[in-house]
C-alpha cells in the first residue's frame, strides 16, 4: 500500500507538471518570453539582448532578473529549442524534484517510520499552489529545490557541525539568491532564527565558537567572502537590487498615493509616515493568513469580482488550522535537536515576509517558498486526526472535500483562467507576432502600439520580445541594432511606439498593430483590417490595420 501511494504520487506529480507543458498555459507570459529570449541570446552570442557579456544580473525589461534560471534556460533551449517546452522545462523539473527532497527531509528528520509520510508526498504533489507556478517558467520553482538541499545541509549542520557544511551552506545560499530575489532575505532570516533557537535551547554556543576557531573554518569563511564579493556588489547594492527597490512596499500605490497624501495634513509627517508604513506592512503580512488567500482568491485565476480559487482548498485549509493548533500544543522533548515545531512555523511565516515587503497584497508567487511548510502543517492536521478515535467520521468528508477541491482548481485553471485572464496575461501577442513576421516585408514600416487592454490604454507591454521570440530573431543582429538606439527596442522595419493615426505620415505603406481604440474605426474601411486576434470570449483584442487598400 505504501509503495502504491508513492507510485501514485510520482505519477500524479509528473503529470501535473509535465502533461501538455508546451500548450498549457496556452501562451508564454511576459516573464517567460523575456527570460526565454535572454537565454536564447546567451546561447548564441554569450551576451544578453542588450549586449552585456555573461551578466550576473539580466537587465531584461528593466527588472534586472537573477542569472541562474536564465543560464539554465539557455541549456534547455540548446536541447529543446526556443519554444514553450524549452522555456518551462527546468522550472517544472525542479518543482518535481523538490517534492522528493522535502519528502526525504520529512522522513529523515520530522516523522517516525510508522507514520503515514507517504500521504505527505501525495499532498505535496497535488498542491494547486505548486502546480500552477510549476507550469510557468518562474524562477521560484528552482528555488524550491535549492532550498530543500539547503535544508538538508542545514539540518546536518545543526546535528553535527562541520566546517565543510559552512561552505556548502554558503554556496547553496549564493545559488538560491542568484535564482530568486526573495531568497536573499528569507534564507538568512530563517537560518538565524532557527539556529539561535537551537543554540540557546541546547546551550551549544561554546561548541559553535570552537568551530569558528578552527583554521579550516576561517579559511572557508574567507573563501566565501571572496566568492560573495561580486554577489554583494551586484545583487545587494548594485543593479541586482533594483528590482527589490522598485517593488518595495513604500512604492505601493495605496501607501504612496493614498496614505502619505492624507498624512501630509498632519504635523510630524516623517514619524507618522514611518508608523503608517510599519502598520501597512503588518497588514500586508497578516493578509497572507486570511482564509480567502487559501480558499477563494489566492491563485488569481479569475477577474477580481468573480468567485475564484485559493492556493489550497477547503480540506487542506481545515487540516492546516487543525495542524497549526496541534503544532502549537506539541511539547517536544528537551533533547530534540531538529525542532519540527520551530522549523515549520519559522519556515511558513518567514517565507511570507519577503512577499509582504513587496507591493501588491497576497502574492502567491513571491510567497511560494512557504508552500512546503503549509503542506507540512496540513499533514500535521492529518496526523492529529489519525490519532483520534472515530477520526474516520471527519476523514471521509475531508477526502470528499479534497477531491472536490482538486476538481474545482482544475476547472478554474483549464476553463476560467484562459477565458477571463486572456488579456492580462498578454495572450494574443504571439499570434499577432507570427502574422507580422510573415508580412512585415510587404510594408515600409510596421508600427506596434505597446499599450493594450479592452478598457483603454491601461496595460503597457513589451511586444518586441514576442516578435523577437516568434521569429527567433538573430540575437547578434538585434544587439547591433539596439546599440544605436537610446533605450528603444525597434528592429528591422518594426517600430514599437504609440499609434497616432491622424498625425502619422501616411505617405508610406504602413502596417499598424494596436487595440481597437488605437484606430479611428469609423474612418477605416473593413478591408483595411487585415488581421485580428480575438480573445476567447469573442472580444476583438489586437488589430493589424494598413493605411492602404490593396
Amino acid at each position: 500500500m505504501k509503495k502504491l501511494i508513492i507510485l501514485l504520487a510520482i505519477i500524479l506529480a509528473f503529470l501535473a507538471r509535465f502533461w501538455k507543458l508546451d500548450t498549457l498555459p496556452s501562451q508564454l507570459n511576459i516573464d517567460e518570453v523575456a527570460m526565454g529570449y535572454s537565454a536564447y541570446s546567451i546561447l548564441l552570442t554569450g551576451s544578453d539582448e542588450w549586449g552585456e557579456f555573461m551578466p550576473l544580473s539580466f537587465a531584461s525589461v528593466g527588472d534586472y532578473k537573477t542569472p541562474i534560471p536564465i543560464y539554465l534556460m539557455a541549456l534547455s533551449e540548446k536541447i529543446f529549442g526556443l519554444n514553450q517546452f524549452g522555456i518551462r522545462f527546468f522550472p517544472s523539473l525542479f518543482s518535481f524534484l523538490a517534492i522528493f527532497v522535502y519528502f526525504y527531509i520529512a522522513k529523515k528528520y520530522f516523522y517516525k517510520q510508522h507514520e503515514p509520510v507517504n500521504l505527505l508526498l501525495l499532498l505535496l504533489s497535488l498542491s494547486p499552489w505548486a502546480i500552477y507556478f510549476a507550469r510557468y517558467g518562474y524562477e521560484v520553482n528552482e528555488l524550491l529545490l535549492w532550498f530543500g538541499l539547503y535544508l538538508l545541509v542545514f539540518f546536518k549542520f545543526l546535528t553535527n557541525p562541520r566546517p565543510w557544511q559552512v561552505f556548502s551552506l554558503g554556496i547553496l545560499y549564493l545559488i538560491s539568491s542568484l535564482t530568486y530575489n526573495p531568497a536573499k532575505l528569507f534564507i538568512p532570516l530563517f537560518s538565524l532564527i532557527v539556529w539561535f533557537h537551537h543554540v540557546f535551547a541546547h546551550k551549544l554556543l561554546g561548541s559553535y565558537l570552537s568551530l569558528l576557531k578552527k583554521p579550516t573554518t576561517i579559511m572557508i569563511i574567507f573563501l566565501l567572502l571572496f566568492l560573495f564579493f561580486p554577489f554583494v556588489t551586484v545583487h545587494l547594492f548594485g543593479e541586482g537590487a533594483m528590482r527589490a527597490r522598485s517593488v518595495f512596499i513604500s512604492n505601493d500605490y495605496e501607501y504612496a498615493r493614498v496614505f502619505k497624501e492624507r498624512l501630509s495634513i498632519l504635523p510630524l509627517f516623517q514619524i507618522n509616515s514611518i508608523f503608517i508604513l510599519v502598520s501597512f506592512w503588518w497588514q500586508r503580512l497578516l493578509e497572507y493568513f486570511s482564509p480567502n488567500f487559501y480558499l477563494f482568491t489566492g491563485l488569481l485565476l479569475t477577474s477580481p469580482e468573480q468567485f475564484g480559487v485559493g492556493v489550497g482548498n477547503l480540506a487542506e485549509y481545515i487540516l492546516f488550522l487543525i495542524g497549526l493548533i496541534s503544532l502549537l500544543r506539541q511539547d517536544e522533548k528537551k533533547d530534540t535537536i531538529i525542532s519540527k515545531k520551530i522549523i515549520l512555523l519559522c519556515w511558513f511565516i518567514i517565507g511570507l515576509i519577503p512577499a509582504s515587503l513587496a507591493n501588491n497584497p497576497q502574492q502567491p508567487l513571491r510567497s511560494l517558498i512557504s508552500y512546503p511548510a503549509y503542506i507540512f502543517i496540513c499533514f500535521e492536521g492529518l496526523l492529529y486526526l489519525f490519532g483520534k478515535s472515530r477520526s474516520h467520521l471527519l476523514c471521509l468528508p475531508l477526502l470528499f472535500l479534497y477531491v472536490f477541491g482538486l476538481f474545482k482548481s482544475t476547472d478554474y485553471y483549464l476553463v476560467h483562467f484562459p477565458v477571463q485572464l486572456y488579456e492580462s496575461k498578454h495572450y494574443g501577442w504571439l499570434d499577432m507576432a507570427k502574422f507580422v513576421n510573415d508580412h512585415a516585408k510587404e510594408y515600409d514600416r510596421v508600427i506596434v502600439d505597446p499599450r493594450f487592454g479592452r478598457a483603454g490604454p491601461y496595460i503597457v507591454g513589451v511586444p518586441h520580445l514576442y516578435f523577437l521570440y516568434q521569429s527567433k530573431y538573430d540575437p547578434a543582429q538585434y544587439q547591433s541594432q539596439i546599440a544605436t538606439q537610446s533605450g528603444k527596442t525597434n528592429f528591422d522595419n518594426i517600430y514599437f511606439e504609440n499609434i497616432n493615426w491622424f498625425s502619422d505620415d501616411h505617405s508610406q505603406n504602413v502596417l499598424y498593430i494596436g487595440s481597437p481604440w488605437s484606430f479611428p474605426l469609423k474612418n477605416i474601411l473593413p478591408e483595411q483590417i487585415i488581421y485580428s486576434v480575438k480573445y476567447l470570449d469573442g472580444y476583438q483584442g489586437l488589430l493589424a490595420v494598413t493605411n492602404r487598400i490593396k
Binding site: S279, Q283, N292
Partner: protein, 232 residues
C-alpha cells in the same frame, strides 16, 4: 499582583479597557453604542452562566440585521452565470458547468464575509471603521496581541462554548459587508477574544506587563488622535 476570580490581574483589566475597539464605538457612532453593549452582555451571560435565552435573542438580532442577505445577491448570480458561460465558450458539456458553479458558491461568499470581519489582518492590523473608507491601517486590538494569541490557543481547553463565538463569526458572514449594524456584531466575539488575551497578559512577567501597558497606552492615544483627524 493579585488576580480576581476570572484570572484577570488589575493590570490585565486595565489592558483590556484600553483596547482600541472599545474606543472605536465611542468615537464614531455614540448613538449606536448601546447595541454592541447589549450584544456583548448577551454573549457574556451565555458564556458565564450557560443560559441559552440570551443567545437566542442575539441570533434574532442577527437574523433581523441580515434582512435580504440570506440568499444569493445579484452580483453572485451574475458571477455564477458568467462562469457557466465560460464553459459554453469552450464547448464543454453543460453538466460540468452546473456541477462546478451553483448555489453552493454562496458558502464561499459567507466565509469570505466572515473572514473580512475576523481575519488576523482585520483584527490586528486594519479593521478601520467604517470600512468603506479605508483611512489608515489601524486595528481592532493591539498588533502585539497576536503574540498572546499563540499561548492563548495553546492553553485553551476545547469546549462547546467555543462554538458560540466561532459560529457568530460564521453567521456574521451572512451580513452585508461594510454595514454599520454589522460592525456591532463583530464586537462581542472580539471582546471575548480580547478577554482571553488579557488573561494571558496577566500571566506574563510583571515588568513586561508594565512596559506593554505603557506602549499600549501611548498607541491608543496616538490612535485616537489619528481617528479624530481622519474619521468625521
Amino acid at each position: 499582583m493579585t488576580k480576581n476570580k476570572t484570572g484577570l490581574s488589575f493590570l490585565g483589566t486595565c489592558y483590556f479597557l484600553i483596547t482600541p475597539i472599545l474606543f472605536y464605538t465611542l468615537v464614531h457612532v455614540p448613538s449606536l453604542d448601546i447595541l454592541p453593549i447589549i450584544l456583548s452582555l448577551l454573549v457574556t451571560i451565555f458564556l458565564i452562566k450557560g443560559k441559552f435565552f440570551p443567545m437566542i435573542v442575539f441570533m434574532v438580532f442577527l437574523f433581523i440585521s441580515s434582512e435580504k442577505h440570506l440568499s444569493l445577491e445579484g452580483n453572485q448570480i451574475s458571477s455564477i452565470n458568467t462562469q457557466r458561460n465560460d464553459h459554453q465558450i469552450l464547448n464543454l458539456p453543460s453538466f460540468t458547468a452546473k456541477f462546478m458553479h451553483n448555489k453552493f458558491d454562496y458558502l464561499y461568499t459567507v466565509t469570505s464575509h466572515a473572514q473580512k470581519y475576523f481575519s488576523l489582518s482585520t483584527i490586528f492590523s486594519a479593521g478601520s471603521y467604517p470600512n468603506q473608507i479605508n483611512h489608515i491601517p489601524l486595528p481592532y486590538l493591539f498588533p502585539w496581541d497576536i503574540f498572546l494569541l499563540i499561548p492563548f490557543l495553546k492553553n485553551a481547553r476545547p469546549s462547546l462554548r467555543w462554538l458560540i463565538p466561532l459560529s457568530m463569526m460564521f453567521f456574521a458572514g451572512f451580513l452585508p459587508w461594510s454595514d454599520k449594524t454589522t460592525f456591532y456584531f463583530v464586537i462581542p466575539p472580539l471582546l471575548y477574544l480580547k478577554f482571553g488575551l488579557a488573561r494571558q497578559f496577566s500571566l506574563i512577567n510583571l515588568k513586561i506587563q508594565y512596559l506593554v501597558y505603557l506602549v499600549s497606552f501611548i498607541y491608543t492615544s496616538y490612535y485616537l488622535w489619528f481617528s479624530s483627524v481622519f474619521i468625521k
